[in-house]
Symmetry: C2
Subunit: 458 residues, 2 copies
């Protein structure tokens, strides 16, 4: 056989092998789809998590219940091992239902508010003060200290309409919530009201984490519904001197021991290489934490169930992590990375599902855009189940700390137009999750875990 003929044959063999591998991958992912849509448990698990356990803020008894339940559910999947990873978490408590009103033309008009997470309470009788409305920190800084002192600062910058993704709109406005109390306290304000982080125009206030700096007073901060934010803005146009009253008796309690829940299936060929998928088991203390992040939790459980149920033996180790305390401290994510580093574990990739149980849309690989072409075939394999692109927008709060250990950080991005309609509200409930959309998410995540564990990264 001539050398030329030989190299042609070798090339043909290689092409055949690659094609066969892709065909095999395509068939496995189809089996995953059929298993999940025939025997799937994610929707009934979500029902239990939302309706029997409900809201589960870090440190609360219901967070503990959720952890024990998830541990049990993962055991039931027959994962090779399931364990709890202890971690100290903050324990913030909302206390009584908040109250607020504005006084316009001597009439009290109720406002729908809720305390921001981590906020201090007001004095027992609440606070009442004039209001300084600003759209951003620059506007606030330009005011004299005197004009702000003793007032309530009202941050009213809305979600911009003309951005494509809710997550981007969130990124453009959320500093009002996370840093607003620090900026307002610097100027001598005694309280903060923040317009809710959403495109929706309705009556649900959206909570979410805020923070303080030791060098400035910790002042009480709350979110106001978008509908009431508009009402307050209009009222201030009419009567700039009007006063707002609000009362909240939330407080930060001592730290509590809690847990990340971890489960894994050992890889048969490269067990030391870990492909992780994470969601967060805690939620805010209002609503049911359905889209944020109950759906992620049940999808994680479903991936392990599906591997086991179909008898797929992954080549690399598949690990599922249900992080505690994503919402107001990230202690779970930090602890997991700390232990991984101490144990010299090698995370090849870490995927996060924390953007709702909507129809899959994009997957973000945190890598230079020009390298993405290598994953075009994966995009094609996952396209029937909703994946439009694998793009460069990888990320995730809980998995972020694994980046410096060399893990490829992967964000799962379902269709995001409605996520912030429910996010951090009383309205984030089971009823807003569609069974099939949730299941498609499970298919894509299981498929992605499979593809990485089978093929590694290119």
């Amino acid at each position: 056989m001539s050398k030329n003929v030989k190299s042609i044959l070798v090339a043909l063999l290689l092409i055949t092998k690659v094609t066969q591998a892709q065909q095999r991958d395509s068939i496995v992912i189809k089996q995953v789809f059929q298993e999940i849509f025939t025997n799937g448990q994610s929707y009934s698990n979500l029902h239990y998590l939302c309706k029997e356990i409900g809201a589960r803020i870090s440190g609360s008894p219901s967070a503990e219940k959720a952890i024990q339940w998830a541990f049990q559910k993962l055991k039931e999947t027959r994962a090779d091992s399931v364990w709890l990873q202890p971690v100290m978490v903050p324990h913030w408590q909302r206390g009584d239902k908040e109250e607020a009103y504005m006084i316009l033309q001597n009439k009290k008009i109720k406002l729908a508010i809720c305390a921001l997470g981590n906020s201090v309470g007001t004095p027992v009788n609440g606070i009442k003060a004039g209001v300084i409305e600003v759209k951003n920190f620059e506007e606030l800084r330009a005011k004299s200290n005197e004009s702000v002192r003793g007032k309530i600062v009202f941050f009213s910058r809305p979600f911009p309409d003309t951005v494509l993704f809710g997550g981007v709109a969130y990124g453009m406005t959320v500093n009002q919530r996370s840093m607003g109390p620090i900026e307002a306290a610097k100027k001598g304000a005694i309280g903060v009201i923040v317009r809710s982080m959403t495109h929706a125009h309705d009556h649900f206030p959206h909570t979410g984490a805020t923070q303080y700096k030791d060098s400035f007073p910790s002042i009480p901060a709350c979110a106001i519904s978008t509908a009431d934010a508009s009402i307050l803005s209009s009222a201030l146009q009419k009567e700039a001197q009007l006063e707002v009253y609000f009362k909240q008796n939330c407080q930060m309690l001592p730290e509590v021991e809690s847990y990340n829940v971890v489960a894994e299936i050992k890889g048969s060929e490269k067990p030391a290489e870990i492909v992780a998928l994470g969601a967060h088991i805690d939620s805010w203390d209002i609503g049911e934490g359905a889209h944020d992040d109950g759906t992620g939790v049940v999808q994680c459980i479903e991936t392990i169930r599906t591997f086991k149920s179909l008898g797929i033996q992954p080549k690399r180790t598949i690990r599922v992590v249900l992080f505690i305390n994503e919402e107001n401290g990230l202690k779970g994510g930090l602890k997991y990375a700390e232990i991984a580093e101490k144990n010299k574990e090698k995370h090849l990739a870490a995927i996060e599902t924390d953007a709702g149980g909507f129809m899959p849309r994009h997957i973000g690989f945190a890598m230079p855009k020009e390298q993405l072409f290598k994953y075009k075939k994966w995009e094609n394999l996952l396209a029937p189940y909703g994946v439009q692109t694998i793009d460069e927008n990888g990320g995730g709060a809980d998995i972020g700390p694994l980046k410096k250990q060399g893990a490829l950080i992967i964000g799962f991005h379902p269709d995001g137009q409605k996520y912030f309609d429910y996010h951090h509200t009383e309205n984030d409930v089971f009823e807003h999750v569609n069974k099939r959309e949730l299941q498609f998410g499970s298919v894509v995540l299981t498929g992605l875990l499979y593809l990485i564990s089978e093929n590694g990264l290119y």
Copy 2:
């Protein structure tokens, strides 16, 4: 200049021209996005159509109101011309709220039903009879006439879970509804109950058109909610002889004159070439016809408004058609095509938006798959607004008749997992439409009209 250099220059010039054209198209579509997300009227128009006019079955006073309202709205867009196209339509009336129960172990258990569209009523006192449950026509045909005679046939084939698209599941089950009464009457049945056409498991019965054949008796037919279909099936397992009662006093009234609403912007370069976009102005008589097809109607109006508002002068004629009677007769679509043929109009393409106001997903061009590569650049131009693929699955009930006149038939397919949750029910209401998803649909449709009118078809 040598001949070679010249041809290189010509080639470069061509490439530059093509690139420039694509850049221009991309900029125009971005302007469309910004206009719709800044000044859009589709959501407020939908609110009016759903809440002030509401359900609007062909021939009803509210259908007439919707037609006059849409005519006025299109006038307000400053379209070059707006007109009404008379057409005779059937006028079916539901009458009183239907009643149904099964008698199990001597107890009456209520069942949630609604008459199928076009169905005859029952006798004044309803019908009560034993039930023959079948999954399909083959199963029914295999039964002896004697065993079916005098009975109610219960068609209970569910939407299959393991298909990717709701529309496909619908196609696999809807013959029970559309042809069930004919098949049942052939065997001597006196009534028909059909499991609702949906993946959802809930208490809403789904109406929809059924039909009769003159050679067989017209027997009353109704839909039963999926939850109650399961209950009835279980009950029949326990007590095969149980009887079901149902009563409905719907009837078909004489035909009524109604209208398609048509508006156009004349093309500046090829006015004789028409690019049409259609939706249907009628709806079923329950719910508000929000996703079916209020969203399509307001998107059609929005496209014209956007062209005019941005001052885009299309090269070819853009025409919007709001068809009457899609739901129970298709008289509007047939009339429109008939007149187009008589007037020797040339429809280059016809697009239909009748699959809900959800996030855009696929666009179907009814052409051989291997020609689709020519539209890859359009796919890329529309991708930011949600278009995953331009595929070969073109189609549309109202525009279908234009196919034999040479029009390219184009179906607009938003994400379809939830459409059949609401379709043809009391639950198809404004509240289930998301403003931004609706607007993305308007962007894609306006962009597509623009691309075809600007570039023609390849």
